[in-house]
Amino acid sequence: MPIINYASKEIQFKIVYYGPALSGKTTTIAYIHSRLPAAFRGDLVSLATAADRTLFFDFLPVDAVILQGFKTKFQLYTVPGQVVYNTTRQLVLRSVDGIVFVADSHWDKIHEDVESFRNLEENLRKQHLSLDEIPYVLQYNKRDLPEAAPVSYLEFLLNNRRRRARSYEAIATKGRSVFAALDAVTQSVLNKFMQENHLLRPKPARESATAARA
């Protein structure tokens, strides 16, 4: 559920990047941070261990569109992928509005992808949530690896729910399909919010800012 602040007229949506360890979640969010204009994004906060692995989460706030006079913000989080940090993942998943599942395409990591996806479902279930309700997309990362598994197999493993999810072949280190996946889940989140609240289609932030200046 998004957080609506009526005093400051803000709506905050929470997008979580989920996936197994070393699948490229932090790299993805770092690329997003590097590409977005500074005026629209905050600082990238990363709590990492000494081994440079995500300890708690990465956090990136992004200003987005205007919805019925409310300024919307997107908060991008990543979760630690290591199995031992499941409690942290459950904490980060609280009140999630959209999920980007970052899967590692390497043959040797496919089992971890499946395990992580099951873990995602399990953690959502503990919060009485389900992937049937929460918009999510699949980001098949590291497609440039020579040992990348075919997309058909990844789809068979991860995209076999009743409702097919959108999936993207991505290379986070180069930025391929990173924004496409984020854009897709963002649009799904906004559409769902508008459907639930019977809102009209929003205006982009830049356009509304230009209109305000005019």
């Binding site: 770092a30 590097s34 977005l36 971890e112 499946v114 503990k126 493993l157 729910r161 799904s188």
Partner: protein, 554 residues
Amino acid sequence: MSFFSWFRSKSDKPEHDELELKGSNESPESHAEAELPSFQSTRVPPPRLRETVPGNRPKPASTAEPGSAPKEGFRRPVRATVDVPLQVLLLQLPPEVTKSNIDIDPKRRVQIPRKSLQIDDAHQTAKVTFATIFASCPEIFSVPIAPLDQRTLEFNLPAWERSRLTDSGEQTTNPTATTPGESTTVTPAETQEPAKVPDQLPPLPAEQLVSETQPVPGPEKPAKAPLGGAARNGSDVLKTVRVALGPIIKNLPSELQPSDPNALANKPGATIELPLELINSQLANGRVTIPFSILLKSLPEDVRRQFPQADTAAEVAVPVKEILQDYPQDLLRPRPDQEPAEVLPAIATPFTVPAKEDTERFAHAPEEAEPEKMATDGHQLELIEHPATPSESPQLVPQEAPVAEEQRDTAKTSLSDEKPTSEQKRAPNFSALQSVFLTDEPLDLKKVVQKVGEFPGVNSALFFAADGSLEGEPEKLGLTQSAVQLLSSLAQEVGQRVENLGFGQIETTTLGWKRELVSVFTLGESGFVVRHETRPFKPGVREKICLVLSHICS
């Protein structure tokens, strides 16, 4: 009469009875019998632990009284699994996923974990996903079911569960909503129960189930047999999949390696056939393992002799990549009832413009890749023109060889002279490495080397190029320039020899060095020399250095 008089005297002292019952190993029903001696006197049999058809049998007089509360002395325990007759499942499963001819006894019961069921107490029914059934009994499926498949079927609860709900009046909570703490409270009952139920089928290991239906193919099987198939009717399609032997041998643990692993692993065309059902049941998990005994059985006799016969129960990993080479692709199709992704009205977000830009950028990627490839080729040509190692044949570049020797000597004496040579090459795009180092600052080779030296656990780093030029400070490594050259040559030589042995390309060579470790990362003739702490690399550091090196060399 003496027994009853003793019993009456004991019952007059209930605290003694309680103490004795606590200390004994008597079951709850015997406890109930002690409380209700009328069972003994009227010769009414004690309540059965399990009734196959509840309601059909007349209940004992003591429990059949209308309106009486459930007897507290006996309560059917909550079992960890629910046993469902196979025929119940077969009636509910759609024909496109089930086999048409199943040679398993339909009365056999499938044990489904209780936590995987959604039990409806009111209607005494339960729902279970196809994936759960597939995990418990893959033999009845003609196609593998992905673990995330959400299709469910509903069935009536078996007699035991219905009796338990009826007798005890217990409200079974939805197991999917139970907390871990709640699930642990039923564990003692779960562990006790199987020993008490005499007609419960013991759980069968997966390999036994497979051997019931599908014998393991022996070496006498015709080599030209058609592979794979959905095995819908079991007559015209065989049930095996052919897998290359080499990758399996490479993944074997050392204690299971054959006497001459390289000869077998590198033997071209060496394949084995594995039961498709055994593969199907695991393929949806992304990892496939088989018992070592099955691997041995699938080998020809002369090859089998080369393997140790010790631990035949050990699990052997079969690379999924190799399986999918010959795996029938139609079995990996998406589920038939899957709905397509929802088409939503487009909303312009701050991410839309970068997404379009990236799409356009990568749409032209093939055009960009060609110059990159050509540049790489040119780089290799340059390496030939300026050989860095004496082992290269001077006949290839007879006129350039002396120049190369001069340049190599110059490289040893002066690093600054090499900079123009390095700049003449096509400089890699270091901005892509910003995400690796999580920084926004512009990067060049010097900063990249500096940041590699700042990775956790790394004390210092140095980059050596194919032309012999160095970036970094050899003094920080505690090495002289000639030692760096020696290390790089040594790592390349080791890497080349290991590669010739068929173990693939080696990424890192680590040497102990004055109570510290020096690791050499090589890619072609370039690489990093890294001094780090006396322990293995911290997680992710080695991979990042490899990534940085591959980017620089590309």
